[in-house]
């Protein structure tokens, strides 16, 4: 067991974690933030994507102990003061989700994509989201939603 301190969605937590515990399970089972989903065991699907110190990462690829001292944002922390983040609103408006399972990861990946490239082409969007899989939407409306946010 190891003691870690992490700030998640603005709240600082101190916790004892097993050294082999994955960050995604610490978030989900340790902190009860179940919005971040687990879709695979091979770092392939991106459903577990969060922001760690401002960068999007797949939270199944890190151990909880590696997040010691980090600032984390999960899907639960994306809206501010009850206002949806524009990316969340755009996913709804453009029907960028069906079952919703990929959605938290997809939204987290998309927001950090726009941070790096505020005016991406369709191709940029598709390549920027390449680590995130969706089985429902065929990506068409996801791409539309991201483009809509980029174009303000």
């Amino acid at each position: 067991m190891k003691r870690i301190t992490v700030t998640v969605n603005g709240v600082t937590h101190e916790a004892e974690v097993e050294e082999r515990e994955l960050l995604v399970y610490f978030l989900r089972e340790g902190l009860g933030l179940t919005g971040t989903n687990v879709g695979c065991d091979t770092s392939s699907c991106g459903t577990c994507t969060i922001h760690l110190d401002g960068e999007s990462v797949k939270s199944c690829t890190l151990l909880a102990v590696q997040a010691d001292g980090a600032e984390i944002t999960t899907i639960e922390g994306l809206a501010t003061n009850g206002e949806l983040h524009p990316m969340q609103a755009a996913f709804q408006e453009h029907h960028g989700l069906q079952c919703g399972y990929c959605t938290p990861g997809m939204i987290m990946a998309a927001t950090s994509l726009l941070k790096e490239n505020p005016s991406p082409s369709e191709d940029d969007i598709r390549h920027g989201l390449e680590g995130n899989l969706c089985r429902c939407t065929g990506y068409h409306n996801i791409v539309k939603a991201v483009a809509a946010v980029a174009n303000g």
Binding site: E18, R20, Y25, R28, E29, L33, T34, G35, T36, N37, V38, G39, C40, D41, T42, S44, C45, T47, T74, I75, E76, L78, A79, L84, Q88, F91, Q92, E93, H95, L97, Q98, C99, G100, Y101, C102, T103, P104, I107, E122, D123, I125, R126, H127, L129, E130, G131, N132, L133, C134, R135, C136, T137, G138, Y139, H140, N141, I142, V143, K144
Partner: protein, 793 residues
């Protein structure tokens, strides 16, 4: 009493989804998000061999491991076999499928033991300590090899892997118009014979499966939370397998992260978890790991197809004859033997033929069981006929579009035209969708560009492929299902109730998991009853709240569940009218109903349905003898399937030096009848097309000679990501179904049914000048390159 403001019509609008606020903020609740105090974790020990006898299982080390509470084998955890609901005829072999196998393992992943511990990690660690004494046996995973003499036998009691055939002329309740034989013997006919192999697919819903069982021991009650499409069917099957009385078993499908058929199943793990909870009297949880799911969750499609067409020399298609050999895998799961039959009547596509024959043979192999995967049977049929139509066009030297136009069932045959295979199509618009599609494509211009590319000697050649598809969905009526030997019915149920505070509660028996019925059903009720969209609450997926229903599969949500809802709404209006007449002191016939108001004709005296709902609830002043409450339930058994159709076109660029394919355009013009929410319809088409394209170009699950799955993880199984797919170009026509009062059909499977042949036809078209006539699927660069080399030889 009169209200001036009437809710705007809701049907046909692109309403934003009511489902979304939870899903975009992380407030969703999938099975893995559920945790119950005192809950134990279950881990399943699976066979590493495709075929091996079990000579003993030693649980002692696992039982001694930290945190372990219990461990079981098939001998010590008492359960009946899993339910198989579609024994297609007397020939059908349906060996008992025990949730934990006792005698031998029949596929890699076959569950043999379970460990129960106080945490996810402890259960998994201890599972590794279970010692199984295996005696490996030779395995067979190929359909044809499984039928050969001397093949290893999956179920020894039968002495063969032939699981039985279904022959339309013998087994179908609907008479075939004419046998196909004479057309193929006619020397004036042009005949072709095509053979295709459809690879095995893994559905890959993004949410893995999972089960949580909660126990109320003192009452003998159990709640099963399962990532399932079929809470109602699952309840019934679990009662049969586990012996828990159906009335004390509650099955809940919470938020479910996609299904595509893979969650239309009675799985071993559901039964195992319920039984352990029953034995231990404690809540349990099992969550599938993705790589585990690749062997533990059903696969789809795998079959060999043989299709023959007979046509006149000028391209009038006269007869179709089809034989299939389908892989069952190692077990018959809930509807495995019937899956190929779901396409049986569709192998002539939307073409008006005279002669028809169809048969299929089911084959056991040492692989994961197959079962319904999006489209189930209909993508297979569409693939065969649409590929074969292109082959026939080549044989006749005709344009593939021209050949299709020539053979469509003409508009004047509708409504309700009985096709050669014996079923009756409600309505369709074959030519109309194709013409629209051709227009969007710019066909002439495309052919000119294709020609000039070829003439320029470019190694990047262009091709276009078409798929003019139809399907039968909303599988019903129940009477027909009975004749096909399916055990359950095809009806669904809805309850509409006005609550005293003025909102409307809808209970639907379908169990959406991404399809958006909470929204679209609200639109239906809003329009039909004249209430506000936001005042309708749609509840589903919990057998305690919605006891009646048959769940979501086969594009039936709207065409069965939605129509049930409409019919319940009609009953509501009928009763509300009586109350209105009583309150307004007029005859019922004097009332007009619009926008929620019953108005006395020619006056401004009216009563709003919400107020009438309150009157019915308070029951202070109801007509004599009337039951209180404004609520109605309807169980709807459709009189026919519904028959959507469409025309898809795919444009590809193929690099003749590398075999790589660039998907340039994908055009889909579909007709699913009346559209409740075009945004939701388009979403269904997008997702379906994506899966269909993936089936054609990327996805396959193959096995090595020992029966190990070679595409057993998400890194080796090629699921398309955003860069692999284009944006899609969509349009539609609307041909209402005459079968139901809303004129609706289904759309959930359309894209998956349509896309594969459009894509492969495009690839073959691109390479046709090189003499290529077939490319295996998925059309990987290697397969394309090989096809080019072979044609050059």
């Amino acid at each position: 009493m009169a209200t001036t403001e009437r809710p705007a019509p809701s049907i046909g609008q692109r309403k934003q989804r009511k489902e979304d606020p939870e899903l975009i903020t992380g407030a969703s609740r999938y099975v893995d998000d559920i945790s119950i105090p005192g809950m134990l974790w279950v881990y399943v020990v699976r066979s590493p061999f495709a075929h091996a006898r079990i000579n003993g299982i030693d649980l002692s080390e696992a039982l001694a491991a930290p945190g372990v509470v219990a461990a079981y084998t098939g001998e010590t955890l008492e359960m009946g076999p899993l339910v198989m609901a579609w024994p297609i005829n007397d020939e059908c072999k349906a060996p008992a499928h025990l949730p934990l196998t006792k005698d031998k393992a029949r596929y890699v992943g076959d569950p043999v033991a379970v460990v129960v511990a106080d945490s996810r990690v402890h259960a998994k660690d201890a599972a590794e300590l279970v010692q199984v004494e295996w005696e490996p046996l030779p395995a067979v995973t190929d359909i044809k090899e499984a039928l050969a003499d001397g093949a290893p036998i999956v179920h020894e009691e039968y002495g063969t892997n032939d699981a039985g055939s279904w022959i339309m002329s013998r087994d179908s309740p609907a008479p075939i118009r004419n046998p196909s034989g004479p057309y193929f013997e006619d020397p004036d006919m042009v005949t072709i014979k095509e053979e295709y192999y459809l690879s095995r697919l893994i559905p890959n819903a993004m949410e893995p499966r999972g089960v949580v069982v909660d126990v109320n021991s003192s009452m003998g009650e159990y709640t099963v939370y399962s990532a399932t499409q079929i809470p109602h069917i699952l309840r019934t099957t679990l009662t049969i397998t586990c012996g828990v009385p159906e009335a004390k078993l509650r099955v809940v499908a919470p938020d479910v992260g996609g299904g595509f058929g893979s969650k239309l199943e009675a799985y071993p793990e559901d039964a195992i978890c319920l039984t352990i909870a029953k034995v231990l009297g404690r809540p349990v949880k099992w969550i599938e790991e993705r790589s585990e799911g690749y062997v533990a969750t059903l696969h789809g499609r795998e079959m060999y197809q043989q299709i023959e067409l007979a046509s006149t020399k000028d391209g009038i298609l006269k007869a179709v004859r089809v034989k299939l050999w389908a892989s069952m895998g190692a077990h018959m799961r809930i509807i495995t033997p019937g899956i190929p039959m779901l396409g049986a009547w569709l192998y002539a596509g939307c073409y008006d033929v005279e002669g028809y024959d169809f048969e299929y043979t089911n084959v056991f192999t040492n692989n994961t069981f197959t079962d319904a995967y999006r489209g189930a049977g209909r993508p297979e049929a569409t693939y065969a006929i649409e590929r074969a139509m292109d082959a026939l066009a080549r044989e006749l030297g005709m344009d593939p579009v021209e050949l299709r136009r020539k053979n469509f069932i003409s508009d004047d045959k509708f409504p309700n035209y009985t096709i050669a295979s014996g079923l009756t199509i409600d309505s369709a618009n074959y030519a109309g969708t194709l013409e629209k599609c051709i227009g969007m494509l710019g066909y002439e211009k495309f052919r000119a560009e294709q020609k000039s590319r070829r003439e320029s000697g470019s190694t990047k050649v262009l091709g276009v492929g078409f798929s003019t598809w139809l399907e039968m969905c909303g599988i019903a009526p129940s009477r027909v299902l009975a004749a096909l030997k399916y055990i359950a019915g095809g009806w669904d149920a809805a309850t509409v109730e006005f609550l005293p505070t003025g909102t409307v509660r809808v209970l639907t028996g379908v169990s959406p998991h991404g399809q958006g019925e909470v929204t679209t059903f609200s639109q239906i009720v809003a329009d039909q009853l004249g209430v506000d969209f936001d005042d309708v609450e749609v509840l589903h997926g919990d057998t305690q709240i919605v006891p009646l229903g048959l769940d979501t599969y086969g594009s039936r949500g709207l065409s069965v569940g939605g129509v049930a809802l409409w019919k319940a709404g009609e009953k509501i209006i009928e009763k509300a009218r009586k109350i209105a007449a009583h309150e307004l002191e007029c005859a019922e016939e004097d009332l007009e109903f619009a926008g929620g108001d019953f108005t006395v004709k020619g006056t401004d005296r009216s009563a709003n349905i919400k107020a009438l709902g309150f009157s019915a609830w308070s029951a202070h002043n109801l007509p004599d003898g009337m039951e209180p409450g404004l609520t109605a339930t309807h169980l709807y058994d459709p009189p026919n399937f519904s028959w959507p159709n469409g025309a898809h076109a795919c444009v590809v660029e193929v690099d003749t030096e590398t075999g790589s394919i660039d998907l340039l355009r994908y055009i889909a013009v579909d007709d699913c009848g009346v559209r409740i929410n075009p945004m939701v319809v388009e979403g269904q088409v997008h997702g379906g097309v994506a899966q269909g394209i993936a089936e054609a170009l990327f996805e396959e699950a193959t096995y090595d000679s020992e029966g190990n799955l070679q595409h057993g993880t998400m890194t080796t199984y090629m699921l398309p990501g955003p860069p692999e797919l284009p944006s899609f170009e969509l349009d539609h026509t609307v041909t209402p179904s005459p079968t139901n009062p809303m004129g609706v059909k289904g759309v959930g499977e359309a894209g998956t049914i349509a896309a594969p042949p459009a894509v492969i036809n495009a690839v073959v078209d691109a390479l046709s000048h090189l003499g290529v006539t077939n490319v295996g699927r998925p059309a990987t660069p290697e397969r394309v390159w090989n096809a080019i080399q072979e044609a050059r030889r």
